[in-house]
């Protein structure tokens, strides 16, 4: 085959592969928007469900998902970043750091329903938090830890070595060096990990199934020890467990969940790009 022809064919295939990646995303978005947009209204977003969830809004589920995501982030980001700092900045290659790295890889491979069972066993039963926002947040937090640790590690490792050398040569302590010369420059990467974790925590159903999610609650949660409704579980419930729910309500709920995740991502991306602009090397 002539090289030029081969090149054309290769190029065509690569382009096709790329388009195939984009296609499902577009189709999913289109279907959800087309079928769900008609359900979206002020009332749908900000009122309680009525008449056995066939009417009214999904406000408690939206709020519940926000609580859970925020709870998971509050728990997982500090822990994950600290673990990453330890691994990158302090630990040498010993059995402990190898064990930690191995655990992270395994943690990332655990199916989400197993996290749910784990959360049920540890937080709900053993620590007696009950089925509550606290249990659910902690379970989701553990689930997103590997993402946060891995991306934080990459971010820390990509900070040029000489930032540390110079800082130490100026008499800064190890911690001051990390605090002032490493972490600020790793922040964009750490935020990226947070974004990924956030999206995952908002969308997962299995981990919250046993630990927090309620089928239906007549009122909003009052404390972290209350159960809450949550969007992914609510979507499952109205799609399969409750008969006679209009299609546009189901797709509308999916649209809200999708938009919520995109909105949270957008916020994080904006914050990240602001940091990026300030920190360039």
């Amino acid at each position: 085959m002539k090289p030029r022809l081969a090149q054309k064919i290769a190029f065509a295939f690569l382009l096709l592969a790329t388009l195939l990646v984009v296609l499902p995303v577009l189709v999913i978005l289109l279907i959800i928007v087309a079928k769900g947009a008609s359900a979206i209204s002020w009332d749908f977003l900000f009122s309680m469900p009525r008449d056995g969830m066939t009417a009214g809004g999904i406000f408690p589920a939206i709020l519940g998902t926000l609580y859970l995501v925020i709870g998971a982030i509050i728990f997982a980001v500090p822990l994950g970043v600290m673990a990453a700092v330890y691994l990158v900045e302090y630990s040498s290659d010993n059995w402990l750091s190898r064990l930690v790295k191995l655990s992270i890889v395994n943690l990332a491979g655990v199916p989400s329903v197993v996290y749910g069972l784990f959360g049920l066993g540890i937080f709900v039963t053993f620590f007696r938090f009950g089925a509550s926002i606290l249990s659910g947040s902690l379970t989701l937090g553990i689930m997103i830890l590997p993402v946060i640790i891995t991306s934080s590690r990459e971010a820390l490792e990509s900070v040029p070595r000489h930032f540390r050398t110079v800082s130490l040569s100026l008499g800064a302590s190890r911690w001051q060096t990390i605090r002032h010369s490493v972490l600020p420059h790793a922040l964009p990467g750490i935020l990226t990990g947070m974004i990924l974790g956030l999206g995952r925590a908002a969308g997962e159903t299995a981990p919250i199934l046993f630990t927090v999610a309620a089928f239906y609650l007549p009122r909003l949660p009052q404390s972290v020890f209350d159960q809450t409704m949550a969007l992914p579980y609510h979507l499952y419930v109205i799609s399969t467990q409750v008969p006679g729910i209009a299609e546009n309500v189901r797709y509308g709920t999916a649209l809200v969940l999708l938009s919520l995740v995109l909105l949270l991502n957008l916020a994080a991306i904006l914050i990240r790009s602001r940091f990026r602009r300030k920190k360039k090397w």
Binding site: T165, L170, G171, H180, K280
Partner: protein, 252 residues
Amino acid sequence: MSEISIETRGLNLFYGDFQALIGIDLQIPARKVTALIGPSGCGKSTLLRVFNRMNDLIDGVRVSGQVIIGGQDIFAPGADLLGLREKVGMVFQRPNPFPLSVYENIVFGLAVHRLARRQEYGGIVEQALRSVLLWDDLKDRLHHSALKLSLEQQQRLCIARVLPLKPQILLMDEPCSALDPIATLHIEELMQKLKKKYTIVIVTHNMQQAARASDRTGFLYLGKLIEINETVNIFTKPAQAMTENYISGRFG
């Protein structure tokens, strides 16, 4: 010799099993420029990094012997490492300002050591920049990124960055190797100005630079200090044949 700033006695340094410095005894006088020369891998940079203990960062480094700075053995148990690095500033081979503004680069050390109050920063920044002859160029660009400066300006800034700590000693590890010849001359002139206040130790590959800019020169080879003397003597009548061979370009 006048006041001694750095003294080593029987200094040995090992990277694992490899001995990089062998029995170094030397005295470095205060407020003079001392150059360390020798072929690549002779240990001159390692020796320089002993003086602010930057070798500590490398796994498997062991040091024996004494290094006395300010009357104290810097390797004695309980020696104040951060205080040492405050007293002994370092300028690196490549200009390496932080990706912060000019101003933030200079106050970094102050903030770390809590040496001054915030109101005093402005004056200290000006003084540091004046010392390296950058003030007139940069006084209107203090809050611009340091990475926008020319390489020479960046290297000057890196020198200015250590000055607010009021160091006694400046270690320079081939500070001109990333600079063009004109910038190199400018940095050398700056060294002549700075040596009135600071003891300067410079590692250089460039023998002309050692000859031009230093008062004393030490020649290292394979981890040993072969000879250290007044620069004039080293370059005109070296005591050791090996030194003569090196500076006349017969090896290295």
